[in-house]
Point group: C2
Chain length 375, copies 2
């Protein structure tokens, strides 16, 4: 049997022209320890968009004059090319995670035949994905492909935040862009585990989403007295660690200095070095690609900021922790870790300019799922 | 015997008026485990200046119309008052470290009578300092008070950098403002211990100071091709940790992104998350009080930036490490850890406007020592 299928690819050439295509590929037979999964559901996450579009200017999107198949072009402004010089000329497969049905198995993986599985690992915006059997998780009875499509990145990230906070000795957490699917999962975990969480959002609608699932400290960064509210919530919760999806601008700095204000308010003696409370900011996303500005004189010397990424975190945490977290995801797949999708599109549909602009906007509450079987 | 002496004090009132005075104080008799040291040498470090002047505008310095003793006034711009609200109205003693002769001892500290000692702990810009006997170090035979005046802050900071780098798995180091007394000590330690060091300086004169003591990687940040030189030096040394005295602006960010460029240059496959090389920036000073600007998209997700302060570091490192470091300082007091002073001034002299402006300027190669016995 020779299986062929489409696979989404993104290439940026030396002139800064980005081409997104669906390439027809031949799927090789599975090796002894491999399987082939027919992809039936794959979420569009911010991390997927990063690879799909790089730093391209979305408003420049055009349909190519001639093309062998579905394709779309846009341009990367010249001044942004240096940052991505490593990918120039490379055809990169897209799609971090997804779920589907096993349609072929190697000799050591026969028990997976016909099973519905979730998987992570790239190249998943495709009709078929050949993958090592040990890298998929069989979905629980009754779960749909959509239920299992986002079972890795967001759930493990939310659980990873809580594990990170605990292992570094923090007792309460701050989260930004907190009304996202990920943010809602984090809120549910913190409620279940009794960890105070401060959710920072950018609208009243987002505030309500979190209140509806039981959040108690939700702050709108657009409020005039945002900083005062934040300091108050930090005093109440004692949070000294923050996970920030935004990255650019001064929000991270504002959180650190508010933590410092909360800490200083309990000090009896002045120190020019500030409080001795350790304050940690992890930046895990780049919703705002602008530089991060740290007004560090407002937060003393006991601070730390750094990048947080799921897979390096899982490697550091070790196999035992990773297994425990994965088990919790399976156990709570349709409760804590349920993802909501507002629109399901086909693979070719994802290359239509109007559809592309809609999912690229990353609007609150909107979440797209790709189902390659739709076309 | 009732001993009296002068002590330097800095106070900022609610209107932002900073007053620096010498107060006549009565020194209480030493307790059983205490001694009294006649201060004979105390360096003016950037950390002392921070407490002396806070965020005051030095150009506003005036002599008060009437005053009981030597005094000087200047004003703190209103917008900078919020950052130092914790010290408003408090009279703060100045002087982190120094050396002198023991002139009185408690009953459990008689063996220190007449000895020359080094000490750290604040309130040292004074004629006398009462202090716990266990907190001083007897200087080696033949060492002057000037030799022992700076035996804590700079030597332990330089050694602490090397210990920190080693304990976090780094094999080479980047240092900014590298021609300082501290920077020269760090260079000597790294040469002795075989640790590659990249010195970043801001002038050719500074470059020469470091070359003269054997530095091999000295880069002038004013050079047009500074970034290229830095990437090249990072490739040669493999440095992945930096200690930055400047803090404000983009230098820290430039170092992290240059480390990333050096790391990416050895990668065979593109990753939108950047290299998996951990990059660490520690900010230990504030020569530039402006916000730090991190262009983090240029350095991937494997980065970390934070404050580094000597005393919290020593607490974390533990008694055994601290003892080992102190022993090395004593052993190499007049070689590795020799400090050069360009001018010795009296306590009252430090309150003369022209003298004050000279040491506040923190010019390269200039270093002031206070000797209260001069007047």
């Amino acid at each position: 049997m020779t299986l062929t299928g489409r696979e989404m690819r993104s290439t940026i050439d030396a002139d800064g022209v980005l081409t997104l295509t669906l390439e027809e590929m031949t799927i090789g037979d599975p090796g002894d320890d491999e399987i082939i999964v027919r992809v039936e559901a794959a979420p569009i996450n911010p991390s997927d968009l990063g690879l799909m579009f790089g730093p391209a200017d979305i408003s420049s999107v055009t349909l190519p004059v001639t093309s062998a198949g579905p394709a779309i072009k846009m341009s990367v402004p010249r001044e942004r090319l240096a940052a991505i010089r490593g990918r120039i000329g490379q055809s990169l497969p897209i799609g971090n995670e997804g779920a589907g049905t096993v349609v072929a198995t190697g000799r050591n993986a026969r028990e997976l035949e016909g099973k519905r599985v979730g998987m992570v690992g790239g190249s998943i915006y495709a009709d078929y994905r050949r993958i090592a059997a040990k890298e998929v998780i069989v979905l629980p009875e009754g779960a749909t492909a959509a239920d299992g499509a986002s079972m890795f990145v967001n759930p493990l990230t939310a659980l990873g935040f809580v594990e990170t906070a605990r292992s570094e000795g923090h007792t309460a957490i701050v989260h930004t862009a907190a009304a996202s699917n990920l943010g809602q999962m984090l809120q549910k975990i913190c409620l279940a585990d009794g960890i105070p969480l401060i959710d920072i959002v950018r609208s009243e609608t987002q505030k309500q989403i979190l209140r509806d699932i039981g959040a108690t400290h939700v702050i709108n960064s657009k409020d005039d007295d945002f900083r005062l509210q934040l300091v108050q919530a930090l005093k109440e919760t004692g949070a000294t660690i923050a996970f920030d999806a935004i990255g650019g601008g001064t929000l991270g700095s504002d959180i650190l200095s508010s933590m410092e204000r909360a800490a200083v308010s309990t000090m009896t003696e002045y120190s020019r070095y500030g409080s001795d409370k350790s304050k940690q900011l992890y930046i895990y996303g780049a919703l705002d690609p602008a530089p991060a500005v740290f007004n560090r004189l407002a937060f003393g010397f006991q601070w730390n900021a750094g990048g947080w990424l799921l897979f390096p975190y899982l490697r550091r945490a070790g196999e035992q922790v990773a297994t425990r977290l994965r088990k919790r995801v399976i156990d709570e797949l349709t409760t804590t870790f349920a993802s909501k999708y507002t629109r399901v599109i086909g693979l070719a549909e994802a290359l239509q300019p109007d559809v592309l602009r809609a999912y690229e906007r990353k609007a609150t509450g909107e979440k797209f799922l790709i189902d390659p079987t739709l076309s």
